[in-house]
């Protein structure tokens, strides 16, 4: 099978994700960890992240509804989300989290709400893009995937 085309696509997609700021260096670190013994490591981690982060987003949303004045709680929830996102290199989301936290410390409820909406959008976008990315990767097969040559 000729992977060169696929590899080009994958490479280009990845590059675009980086260029547009969706991902950062941490994502590379994850890919470096992938090897024969854990060939789908990155995909697994990303899947885990999205699962967990959806729950977190729901919590944040609920907290905004139920305890709108509790900025400490909100900050705390977003902090978790931020830490999680940063672990996979989700740069834009991480930045949006920082914005949210800033709104919290200003006690700006409206700002928090807007930020949350942005976070959700970023979350959804990244999820979709990465899904596409991984689909491409799957097509090349594990061996190829593990090769970091096209980083």
């Amino acid at each position: 099978m000729d992977y060169s085309n696929l590899r080009r696509q994958i490479f280009s997609m990845k590059k675009s994700l980086f260029d547009q700021g969706y991902l950062d260096e941490q994502f590379n670190q994850l890919e470096e960890l992938q090897d024969d013994s854990s060939p789908n490591f990155v995909e697994e981690v990303v899947a885990l992240f999205f699962k967990d982060s959806s729950r977190l987003l729901t919590n944040i949303e609920q907290a905004l509804e139920k305890y709108p004045q509790d900025f400490y709680r909100l900050d705390s929830l977003v902090h978790q989300f931020k830490g999680s996102g940063s672990s996979i290199g989700a740069l834009r989301m991480k930045n949006e989290c920082s914005m949210f936290k800033a709104h919290c410390s200003d006690r700006n409820l409206e700002g928090c709400r807007r930020s949350l909406q942005k976070m959700k959008r970023e979350h959804a976008t990244l999820k979709q893009k990465l899904e596409t990315y991984f689909q491409l990767l799957r097509q090349v097969g594990p061996r190829e995937r593990a090769v970091n040559s096209w980083k």
């Binding site: 670190q29 960890l33 967990d52 709680r73 705390s76 902090h79 978790q80 672990s87």
Partner: protein
């Protein structure tokens, strides 16, 4: 730790055993993978409480711990402290939060490193240096310390360094005898494990309650500002103890004091002995008299206390709570906001004779018969308005908060009990009335020293022998100062003198910091032996019902009632201070589950302090107890009994037996012995401290 290295046959750092604690599953998975890439041996744990249990069960199973700061069930800093105190393992903190003040906090709590998320591989590759460094420093301690074995006591202390590690020094026989057998074995095993640089296997210095008491006495005597290791060593006059040991211990102690001072959040931690919590802490035997009394110490309070205590070797203050009601140990639970922490109570020391305190109600399993504090309301005691205030507190503030809270808002807090509390700097805060008010918690910094024991009011004080009458420890007005720890703060804030008045005995946690040092009056007199945490009698702020505070006052030899020695977690029930006779309970709460399981033998953290005794007053009183309670207590696995109870936990005689006769006085409820000192077995101490 070295065990791992040794086991691996010198292939270090390959195979180094790392425990990663983080509630974020993504992060946990990534870290694990990275650490495996570094060829370490990795164990992950999403819950801090579980991690602590694992560590306790298998102290030598890990070489280094990496922990997140922000976790729902326990504040990472608290875990850090506990681990540092109980297991003395290097802990690396990590967080997405890179603010300088938070990082600083980590360092101050003893983290050997602080990583900002996302953590990179390169950073993880280097973490083995922390393990080596720690070992190396410990060895240096060995070499320099003049253990009896070595007979190089005279070695000049050129390194006036204060090793963060607990003194691992060649203990001399006296320490050994105190150590529990298990501990000794552990220590020896530790020694064997691999410390490459150490040549001789010296037993670790165990900062037993007594020892800590002596330490505190010495520091008090010199004045915290002037206390230098050399002089402290001289004053303590403990054979085999080296300047390095003292220096290292002093450093920890200072950190603790600072922390207490900073935690002024006034989140009162109820010292309620968790009635339901049934297990008071690890101590099992110890009861927090004070706390127990009410049995309601919310775990948080206890935890907070404990944390506070643990955080620093402070002793728990035992506030003399003499009567049942008065002795309430406010168990402050640390971080309870999440509700999780249970307060491990350090079991108070009860044993002291008569429980003068009556406060220890038997009701609570762990706690001594402290009069019920009443359930601690979960609302924040005195806490501020925000509902989460407590919650917030939980993290760092802890213990102090509790005390402070109590102090600050006496009314609000304990449903009125606190009011009378005159919080004394010494940290023993005994709200005059039962501390019901303490909210469960959250905020309470774990370390809140148990000292806070609502002491009864006047009557209580009245009963205290004149000498003991000190101003109540709890200074209701002084917001800051956690009861226990308050040492720094307490002194400053409250006018009352610190409870600690250790007579001769070593007051483990009590430190009279400057000013308030309460002269013997009132404070627990440890007459006989070391009063673990002397609780100032009056100081105990305990007005009407001193929570299980121990009072170590007078009464004879008491068993030191260390209020608790709870396990490390926060609640240091140590507060018990009590007035006279009652042994002080150091409420110690085990972080893990405070309730009740106090096993007398708790391990009191390295500070040896079994908290139990609520050291009254003096700021540091909680110190001791805190230790005990703090973390050490529950150490289930550990046998250390430092400070616990064993001996000292009960507050010896000091407590005026007569006065307190109330039924609740028996401190030793759980511990079993009423009036008499705790069984040596449990604590590993023989006789009193």
């Amino acid at each position: 730790m070295a065990a791992a290295a040794e086991a691996r046959g010198g292939d270090f750092p390959v195979g180094m055993k790392v425990l990663v604690v983080d509630d974020d599953p993504t992060c946990l998975v990534v870290l694990k993978r990275m650490l495996l890439e570094c060829r370490y041996d990795v164990t992950t744990c999403p819950q801090a409480t579980r991690a602590l249990t694992m560590l306790r069960e298998n102290r030598r199973g890990f070489d280094v711990i990496i922990s997140d700061v922000h976790m729902p069930d326990m504040d990472g800093f608290r875990l850090l402290e506990l681990v540092g105190l109980e297991m003395d393992l290097p802990v690396i903190m990590m967080s997405a939060d890179s603010r300088t003040d938070i990082v600083m906090k980590g360092i101050k709590h003893g983290a050997c490193d602080y990583l900002i998320k996302p953590v990179r591989m390169e950073e993880l590759k280097n973490i083995w240096q922390h393990v080596v460094r720690k070992k190396f420093n410990e060895n240096k301690d060995h070499e320099h310390s003049g253990s009896l074995d070595d007979t190089d006591r005279n070695r000049p202390n050129n390194n006036d360094n204060e090793y963060a590690s607990s003194a691992n020094d060649g203990g001399d026989g006296s320490w050994k005898s105190q150590k529990k057998k298990r501990e000794k074995e552990e220590d020896e095993a530790d020694l064997e494990s691999g410390d490459p640089s150490s040549t001789s296997k010296k037993p670790r210095v165990v900062w037993s309650v007594e020892l800590h008491q002596q330490f505190v006495n010495a520091v008090n005597h010199l004045g915290i500002d002037k206390a230098v290791p050399k002089k402290i060593l001289e004053l303590m006059n403990v054979p085999g103890l080296t300047r390095e040991n003292v220096a290292s211990h002093l450093q920890k102690f200072r950190l603790y004091l600072k922390r207490i001072a900073q935690h002024h959040a006034g989140i009162p931690h109820p010292f309620v002995a968790p009635a339901s919590s049934a297990k008071v802490a690890p101590l099992g035997g110890l009861e927090f008299q004070a706390l127990a009394a009410s049995g309601q110490i919310p775990p948080q309070a206890l935890a907070a206390l404990q944390d506070e205590l643990l955080g620093r070797p402070t002793s728990s203050l035992a506030l003399p709570g003499r009567d049942q009601s008065s002795l309430r140990l406010a168990a402050i639970k640390g971080n309870k906001p999440h509700g999780e922490r249970e307060i491990a109570f350090g079991q108070p020391i009860y044993k002291c004779q008569n429980n003068a305190y009556g406060a220890f109600p038997q009701s609570s399993p762990g706690l001594g018969g402290l009069p019920s504090f009443g359930a601690w309301p979960n609302n924040k005691l005195g806490m501020t308005d925000s509902p989460s205030a407590l919650g917030n507190v939980s993290n760092s503030q802890n213990s102090n908060l509790l005390l402070h809270e109590l102090q600050q808002q006496p009314d609000s807090l304990l449903t009125g009990t606190l009011q009378n509390i005159d919080v004394k700097p010494s940290g023993i805060v005994m709200p005059s009335q039962s501390l019901n008010a303490f909210p469960a918690s959250e905020g309470i910094s774990p370390n809140q020293n148990p000292l806070v024991i609502p002491s009864q009011s006047q009557s209580f004080l009245a009963s205290i022998p004149p000498s003991m009458k000190h101003e109540p420890l709890l200074a209701s007005s002084s917001p800051s100062n956690s009861l226990l720890g308050g040492i720094d703060m307490v002194n400053q804030a409250s006018t009352s003198q610190p409870l600690i008045s250790t007579h001769g005995a070593n007051l483990p946690g009590l430190m009279n910091r400057s000013s308030n040092a309460m002269p013997s009056s009132g404070i627990c007199n440890f007459q006989s032996g070391n009063n673990p945490y002397v609780v100032n009698q009056n100081a105990m702020g305990v007005s009407s019902r001193p929570p299980g505070v121990l009072k170590t006052e007078s009464t004879d030899s008491l068993n030191r009632s260390y209020g608790y020695i709870g396990g490390s977690t926060s609640v240091d029930s140590g507060l018990l201070s009590s007035q006279s006779k009652n042994p002080q309970y150091g409420l110690l709460q085990n972080p893990n589950d405070i309730t009740g399981s106090w096993s007398p033998s708790q391990d009191i953290d390295s500070y040896g302090n079994t908290l139990g005794q609520g050291h009254p007053g003096s700021t540091s009183s909680n110190y001791q107890s805190s230790n005990v309670a703090l973390g050490k207590l529950p150490d289930q696995g550990r046998g250390r009994n430092h400070g616990f109870v064993g001996k000292g936990t009960c507050i010896p005689s000091r407590f005026a037996v007569d006065e307190v006769e109330s039924p609740t006085n028996n401190l030793s409820h759980s511990i079993g012995s009423s009036a008499d000192i705790v069984n040596p077995d449990i604590f590993g101490f023989s006789g009193q401290m």
